[in-house]
């Protein structure tokens, strides 16, 4: 939810300033606002309230002051879950960004075979995360999976049973699904770069690599920031895929914050502490989104077009 917060807020101020002119524009913001308040703000207030209570999900909700917060903050499971979440964030960013950048640049070319490939690349994004997780789980099964079926010993590993392997599998599957999406963003970004810049560079004798690093990459600055924001904030909410694939295991190797919250709330019946974690999750997401906006430069109106 937090990912959408800045967008929705951004949508309202222009509406307010134009109200004096009496157009219909303010009304365009109302549906978004209602949905945002209904599905974003009100549940958030509910969660905040629940974090100061003790509730088993079944009986009465009892106010319990700070006990849930104390329980969560003193639990060694929290720093561990935060650490795993951070690792997932960094690793999936570091893995996805270069790959989707390259694929995006490649797909920006207007050759027909590239258009065909673009459609194929896009397919993973259309599948549900749970379905992907179930499919990968079957493929990676050490006894009945891909490796055992094709008799490739290299593929017969305890993929989901060793901490490092399981973590890598999660990063790989996440990337497999989301690289197409980010490639698409980059493809759009690359197509916006004026031809004339490349032509000038070619006249100056720049090669393919030089053009990439001196023109494409700097011109994609804002695209990179957009894509990174989506990746980083999105990785906070990875849940379904990890839950189905590893259920946080082996031991706690892939127990990210969102999963920790779910397990406490719905499996251990501790809604108070789970809500406290949810609040932490929102704060972390908000902080990250703001930080990335800052990194994007102080003047968001600055042109990224020709001659910028």
């Amino acid at each position: 939810m937090s990912a959408f917060a800045p967008t929705a807020r951004k949508g309202t101020p222009p509406a307010a300033t134009r109200e004096g002119r009496g157009g219909v524009l303010p009304w365009l913001a109302v549906p978004a606002l209602v949905i945002f308040v209904g599905f974003g703000v009100i549940p958030l207030i509910g969660v905040l309230f629940l974090s100061f209570t003790s509730w088993d999900g079944l009986g009465e909700i009892n106010l319990s002051g700070l006990t849930s917060w104390q329980a969560v903050l003193s639990d060694p499971g929290l720093p561990h879950a935060l650490w795993i979440t951070l690792l997932v964030m960094l690793a999936s960013w570091a893995f996805q960004t270069p790959l989707s950048l390259l694929i995006g640049v490649f797909l920006a070319g207007r050759q027909r075979y590239r258009a065909v490939l673009a459609v194929l690349f896009f397919i993973p994004l259309l599948l549900s995360q749970a379905a992907i997780a179930i499919a990968y789980k079957a493929l990676l099964d050490p006894n009945f999976g891909l490796g055992a079926g094709l008799h490739i010993d290299l593929l017969v590993q305890d993929w989901l049973g060793r901490p490092v392997l399981a973590f890598s599998v999660v990063i790989f599957v996440v990337s497999w699904q989301f690289i197409p999406f980010h490639s698409l963003i980059y493809q759009g970004g690359v197509r916006q770069i004026p031809r004339s810049m490349y032509e000038a560079a070619e006249l100056d004798g720049a090669g393919r690599v030089r053009k990439f690093f001196s023109i494409t990459l700097p011109q994609l600055k804002y695209t990179i920031i957009t894509s990174s924001t989506l990746m980083v904030v999105g990785s906070l909410t990875f849940f379904d895929l990890i839950f189905v694939l590893t259920a946080g295991g082996p031991a706690d190797a892939t127990r990210v914050l969102a999963l920790d919250m779910y397990k406490r709330g719905f499996q251990a019946n501790l809604m108070g502490p789970a809500s406290a974690i949810a609040v932490i999750l929102v704060l972390v997401g908000l902080a990250l989104a703001l930080l990335l906006r800052r990194l994007g430069g102080r003047d968001p109106q600055a042109s990224q077009m020709e001659g910028a």
Partner: protein
């Protein structure tokens, strides 16, 4: 003029937005206060949620269908769910006041949490008035349905002890006999590994599968009192030396490659652990008797051809426990949601009295390889192709001095989650037995 117009519309928009928001908030936080809820879903009929997975699902569905046919005025609508998904779904639904009329469950700690929240009906007087309904069933099945002296659930379906299955072909291959003691097990492990057969199949990602090993070992080493003390919430009850001994033995077995390679990647829900046994990739499997039905159905010639062997879990040399004791599910349980309407409750009670474990249903359970919790059930399988197995299960269930409930079902959901978490770490060898004991002592009585 325009701006006034706008503000009036703003007001309208707000006045429509607010109730929507309030309604959403009601769904989010004040669920339990809402009486009735979705339970009333389809008019006057009662609803019933139960577990999917064949062949058991079919028996449940047909029991409901038969009841509906006989009672056109009071219908029950059944919805099946997958095991692990159901455990979460039912809890959420009950908490949100959206529980089905009839709640299927395992009794024990989860039932206790429903009772404490006032979410299920007290059935004690129902059983007093309908003594015949109660008297047909195994008395041992009522233990997990009874909380503080009152009965909150109707035992149903089958008795499911956990037993040690083995693949006879695998044993013939290495010329060995099924284990009679823990020592035999540890001796068999290197022999099977040498022959390229995994000694034990295990769906380790499901966690409760690993737990069955701890349950039996602790019982065989220290007797039933050790876990009873935990159940009773005695401080430091896990510090019993038998627990450390048990945990050490489990880790020894893991280190000796006693379990199939990659067991932590396997889940029991996919039945891959059973497949390992009937395809001969693993020689033995400690599992509930409910897997028999699955193995007969999916294993080709494995069960009909007599290649499946079974024994009770062997004793441990020098252990205090009685090797006839068993662990598992003494039955399954049906409770009535206290949020249901009086009509729905009546339908549910009628179903309990007339629709549960009818002769036809009992016969169908026997066909799946299950032993219904009916007294004298053994007469039902005379001549059945599964008679040997059914007799074996009936024997275990009726001879066991103690039929303990699975730990994760006996304990409260909060304690059970910590337990399962630590068990999976134990099997990963990422914590020592002593750390396990310390972690578990911290949540005793919760």
């Amino acid at each position: 003029m325009d701006s006034r117009n706008t503000s009036r519309r703003t007001f309208l928009g707000l006045s429509m937005g607010l109730p929507l928001g309030a309604a959403l908030a009601a769904c989010g936080t004040s669920g339990p206060a809402k009486p009735g809820g979705g339970a009333s879903g389809g008019g006057a009929g009662a609803s019933y949620w139960y577990l999917s997975v064949q062949p058991q699902e079919g028996v449940r569905t047909r029991a409901v269908e038969r009841f509906n046919k006989a009672n056109p005025s009071g219908q029950i609508k059944g919805t099946p769910f997958q095991n692990d998904a159901y455990k979460t779904k039912i809890k959420t639904a009950i908490g949100a006041g959206q529980a089905p009329t009839i709640i299927w469950g395992w009794g024990g700690g989860t039932l206790r949490s429903y009772v404490q929240a006032g979410q299920v009906e007290d059935l004690t007087s129902f059983f007093d008035q309908n003594a015949a309904v109660k008297d047909r069933l195994f008395p041992s099945s009522f233990g997990a349905a009874t909380i503080d002296g009152k009965i909150y659930a109707m035992p149903c379906e089958t008795v499911q002890p956990i037993v040690l299955f083995h693949n006879k072909t695998a044993f013939e291959k290495i010329g060995a006999e099924p284990p009679q003691s823990w020592g035999d097990i540890m001796d068999l492990v290197p022999k099977f590994n040498k022959a390229g057969i995994a000694p034990f199949s295990l769906g380790g990602q499901s966690r409760w599968t690993n737990m069955m090993w701890l349950e039996f070992l602790l019982d065989r080493i220290g007797g039933t009192e050790v876990f009873q003390a935990v159940f009773d919430g005695e401080k430091g009850a896990w510090s019993n030396p038998a627990v450390l001994d048990m945990l050490t033995k489990v880790q020894e077995l893991v280190k000796a490659n006693g379990f199939i390679k990659g067991f932590s990647s396997i889940t029991a829900d996919s039945n891959a652990d059973q497949a390992l046994l009937y395809t001969g990739k693993a020689a033995m499997m400690l599992h509930g008797t409910w897997t028999y039905g699955g193995m007969s159905q999916d294993g080709g010639d494995f069960v009909p051809g007599g290649h499946l062997g079974y024994t009770n879990f062997p004793g441990v040399d020098g252990g205090k426990g009685d090797p006839t004791n068993t662990v598992g599910n003494p039955g399954q349980y049906l409770s009535i949601s206290s949020k249901a309407t009086p009509e729905q409750k009546e339908i549910a009670k009628k179903f309990f009295a007339q629709g549960v474990l009818t002769d036809q249903e009992a016969k169908e359970w026997v066909e799946t390889g299950g032993v219904p919790i009916l007294k004298g059930a053994d007469s039902a399988w005379a001549g059945s192709k599964d008679a040997d197995f059914l007799n074996f299960v009936y024997g275990i269930a009726s001879n066991a001095k103690v039929f303990a409930q699975s730990w994760d079902q006996a304990l409260s959901p909060t304690a059970a989650e910590v337990l399962l978490d630590n068990i999976s770490k134990l099997f990963q060898l990422s914590i020592s037995p002593q750390q396990w004991v310390d972690n578990m002592n911290a949540v005793i009585g919760q």
